[in-house]
Symmetry: C2
Subunit: 663 residues, 2 copies
């Protein structure tokens, strides 16, 4: 993680400081050390070298802090002269130290961001050079194909590309609407599983067979019945498949493959038709990354559904504040007592009140937040993306902004949606309002880090929900090694969480550094736990070659600018207007840095350069395996629902089904 | 123009209304028509059919308006019943009619915008199909070329493109820094002109030769002296040219030509290098459209100069308010009197005060505004654009926003820059503040339309400044047909002016429709005058094929949204909150419409589609003239400063010089 190295150094230094403090407060009390720690008092005769021994002398105590704090500036002036006062004035700018630290941390984070972005870009290019030829590198998706009456989509695509790309065009696969077919196949799959279970049960140990002896005859009937049903279903599927392939509802979209990566890139980059809303090209995703169900193809439809999703997202983000306000109410005991007076007696018990104020609010928030990633994923899926990875990336962004808005701003400003909107519409006063509200919520966010971060990471390790599911299912379902589905990590759930902790760390580091050790523990914990999970649990479902990184970068930049806004607010509140003016260039410079990174690195994450493409193509030119690859490429983007289905014939072999309709 | 058709219909209807009113007020007074216009009064005996004749009967008078206005609702109720009152209530929603008109005008303007955008897009494509092969269609500009030590830019470019585009690459021309050379050539040109003038004078009629007889001997000496000087200068130029060509300072930029339009487009669209800040490609401008002097080539330099120009633009826009505030002071007589008490006696004269309040303010504003387009052009020229057309386009945008901010907002809100910024930072209240301020300034803007629009268009016809220049120059310089420079229209001065009038028309049409006839006159005047000027005066300097249109479109959309904001403010002020809520969807829909247009049409104005390019290329394939064209293409992008110079050898023939260093 980006801030982890920073945090490590903070942690080590903090530890050293505490150690020094402790030693100091113990050693100071030993009369033998008076000449080291209090020579002045000794010389003035205010301190006696000899004193009777007691246990207190061996315990560290913070009394010296109080004693050092109490004298006023005048007393110090009279006792130690002006130079001392001047020297002490230096510390009055502790706020000034904050100011410097804001600058230093910003520069440091930006440096790290730049370095990381560069490193990941280079990794991405290196990955591309070393990757085997993959179908999606040679293919583009064309949608919004204009079809004239009387001709099919396939013919139109064939004509268009043979006319304009005669030397580079390879093949095309028209996308078809297969929702009904997919339903049938799912039914067949379920039936096949049931059948397999039933058939395998007679092979169980005698004891079990004996125990269900009375049901045995019935079972044989059931098997026959299911077999019959499955055969019928398969016949249906086959009929539907041929129907769809021959005269089915074509979606006006097709995967078009080319003879080289470069040619595919050219077709992707150039606007194909005179009308920019027709023959729209997109990079093809990996074949198993294609999201077949919601294949909307028309330009207008996609655009409108995108707009609707944005509206729905904004509405959800605002309406979600209702549970947040309830959570806020719970953290405030007095408010709860006035609302529900009968709880007064229970709330006076210390343990109960501590649980309620300390733990319950963030737990409730957690439970509500658990429902958000699936909702956002659903939103993204109807937005018109063609790849699962795109859907997750878009959902990741949505969840991130949702979390920042609903967890950070709503909790910090703890008001109704309308109040929040009023604040947004009054941008001049945002820094001042944040400066008042953000420090007040530090304890809540420490609790949040502990609940959401620590417990979240640990529960990730134990995989609570899959464990429960597996425990429930075990008695009923015989475990089959073939049937285990390796899960993929839900990036859209995990990335926003980590980024939100990054935001907390950056905004709170100079307001309430107490949050940093907790974050540090979380980040170390997370690092180890997720390494473990990646090695043992998760398998990647697709490969975007680092396309998630720009989200991380943007979120960090946002955190920095937010931190600057809070700093400006605080310095203004504390009447350090010079410092607040001096901070002003910082957000501007940070945004300029971001703009530079966008120009320098972002294009690498969108498409590969001509240089890389041509180099990679040349490397393949003399490979003998390329012929075979091109042969496979022609059918790589076949809808899995249209693949041949053969359950009934090979159900006895207990082999895994030939198709995997992963939806 | 877009609004002209709308304005025409408004004008015709207004004329008809006035005609009907006049006839009514005359005919009504004729006793013979009483049964038509006042049958009720006649029946009630309140009117006498017979009355003595007088002249007043034949003159139109608005007295009936007063008489129809005076009775209160109660009086009307008693005299005509409830139904009449209800009927009259319909008119109480005259504001409601405004509301409807806002909707109707928005829909109408959007329809026109869509239609125009489509029409111009089609024109643009048609122009491309019908155009002859032109060098800029086959060429791209590559800048930020990374050059390793020990190799030249030319070699690097040659190697890169022969490696990655072996079959399509044609040639390259490296850009060189020729500022000093250009200075020398200009000197030579001036000297040559002087020489030609001196030599031609002896050929004048005898009378003139006789009159300057005493100077004749001296003149021959002068001619010889100049000839010597010119030869020296030319020798210098030739030396410098060969020096620049051989070992000169290469700019890390080159014009790279390809064998077809499609190949050039491919190289333009694809990111060339792994590092997106190197080998940056741009579409090449027409050869005579290239802006040679400020040829900044590095990515960072361009970016920084762009940022600096933006900062300078913002500063200028804000500082410019000082003269505007003075202008505001002049429109306010009382303020002027308190400032300059000794003027009191003069200001009491009606004519003087009328001139000061009615005409002087906008004249002063005009004079200040005259300096803006050249300044903005200068800003754009140092921003790193390579084409004169790009510079003008960018300057056009700058002048437009400058005008909107400084003429519209500063005058409407008539406050200091800080006050304006405060308003911007408080977006919630913008509509309310505009609603108060905009209608109050209607008379100022009518005066502005008359001064800037009418007088401006007329002075454009007479070409005041060129006329004065020509009158001053005539006695000294002998007119030479070869030497006349045909001017090109300064688009960046004229387009923002017309668009600003469009903005005034759209924002004021429902507040102060009185402005519309003035605008209509301006638009008709402008239409005829500029047609005349294009036919007789201006010659196009370059051809962007309609790339200025998106600026017009954006400005119109901005005007519409501004109008909606003002409407919301006014309806809120007038307590018609339902109407103001009903207007809310309108700006949203307008912006969505704009977004759709951006997707539908804007790409056409940025680059041509693969379809058009390939079709156009195929058309040329069998043309025999293409070989010659490619031969010329190789040297088309040679810097004119590096072309051979031959003044001294052919000065006697009085032919125009071979080079035209148009800077």
């Amino acid at each position: 993680m980006l801030v982890s190295s920073l945090l490590t150094s903070v942690g080590i230094n903090l530890g050293l400081c505490i150690l020094f403090f402790m030693f100091y407060s113990i050693l100071k009390k030993q009369p033998g050390n008076f000449e080291v720690y209090a020579p002045r008092l000794l010389a003035e005769g205010k301190s006696k070298r000899l004193s009777h021994f007691n246990l207190e002398r061996l315990l560290p105590s913070p009394g010296w802090v109080r004693r050092a704090w109490q004298p006023s500036e005048e007393e110090l002036l009279s006792s130690s002269g002006l130079d001392t006062v001047v020297f002490m004035r230096i510390f009055i700018f502790r706020l000034w130290i904050h100011f410097c630290s804001v600058y230093i941390v910003t520069v440091w984070v930006c440096y790290l961001l730049y370095y990381e972005y560069k490193y990941i870009s280079l990794k991405r290019i290196a990955y591309f050079y070393s990757s085997k030829p993959q179908p999606h590198q040679f293919t583009i998706l064309v949608h919004s194909i204009p079809v004239s009456a009387g001709s099919s989509v396939g013919d139109t695509v064939e004509n268009f590309f043979t006319e304009y790309y005669p030397s580079t065009y390879l093949s095309n696969v028209v996308v078809r609407r297969t929702n009904r077919l997919r339903g049938l196949i799912n039914d067949a799959k379920k039936l096949y599983k049931k059948l397999v279970r039933l058939q395998s049960e007679p092979n169980q140990p005698k004891l079990k067979r004996g125990c269900c002896f009375g049901l045995f005859g019935q079972k044989v009937d059931l098997v026959d019945q299911y077999e019959k049903k499955l055969e019928d279903l398969e016949e249906n599927v086959r009929l539907e498949q041929s129907e769809v392939s021959l005269a089915g509802e074509d979606v006006r979209a097709a995967f078009v493959s080319f003879k080289s990566r470069y040619d595919a890139a050219v077709a992707f980059h150039l606007q194909q038709s005179i009308d920019p809303t027709q023959w729209v090209t997109e990079q093809a995703p990996e074949p198993h990354d294609v999201y077949w169900p919601f294949f909307s193809s028309s330009f207008m439809r996609r655009w409108i559904s995108k707009l609707l999703v944005i509206v729905a997202f904004v509405l959800l983000t605002i309406l979600f504040l209702i549970p947040v306000v309830i959570v806020q109410g719970l953290t405030n005991l007095n408010q709860l007592e006035t609302w529900l007076p009968f709880l007064k007696s229970i709330l006076t018990i210390t343990v109960v009140s501590e649980v309620i104020t300390g733990y319950l609010p963030s737990l409730i928030l957690q439970l509500f937040l658990k429902t958000v990633p699936p909702i956002m994923e659903f939103f993204s899926s109807i937005q018109g993306y063609i790849a699962l990875s795109d859907i997750e990336k878009s959902a990741c962004n949505k969840v991130l902004w949702f979390t920042i808005w609903n967890v950070f701003f709503a909790n910090v400003l703890s008001g109704s949606a309308l109040y929040l909107i009023n604040i947004i519409l009054d941008p001049k006063n945002i820094p001042a309002k944040l400066a008042v509200a953000v420090p007040a919520q530090a304890s809540f966010f420490i609790a949040y880090v502990v609940t959401s971060g620590w417990t979240g990471a640990s529960s990730e390790l134990f995989r609570v929900i899959p464990l429960i599911c597996s425990l429930i299912r075990k008695p009923f379902v015989k475990s089959e090694d073939d049937d285990i589905e390796v899960p993929s990590i839900p990036y859209h759930r995990e990335i926003p969480k980590i980024l939100f902790f990054g935001l907390l760390g950056i905004t709170y580091f100079f307001l309430a550094p107490l949050i940093l050790p907790f974050l540090l523990v979380y980040l170390c914990l997370g690092y180890i736990i997720y390494r473990n999970q990646f090695l043992n649990v998760y398998a990647p479902k697709y490969e975007t070659a680092g396309k998630f990184w720009p989200i991380v970068h943007n979120s960090m930049i946002f955190s920095l600018v937010l931190m600057h806004a809070i700093a400006i607010g605080i310095f203004t509140l504390k009447k350090l207007s010079i410092a607040s003016y001096l901070i002003f260039p910082l957000p501007v410079l940070t945004l300029l840095f971001n703009e530079y990174c966008r120009k320098r690195f972002l294009p690498i994450f969108i498409a590969y350069s001509a240089e890389s493409l041509i180099k990679r193509d040349r490397k393949d030119q003399n490979e003998p395996s390329m012929d075979e690859f091109f042969h496979e490429l022609v059918t790589a983007y076949q809808d899995p629902a249209l693949a041949p289905i053969r359950y009934s014939s090979n159900r006895d072999s207990l082999a895994s089904p030939l198709i995997s309709s992963e939806v």
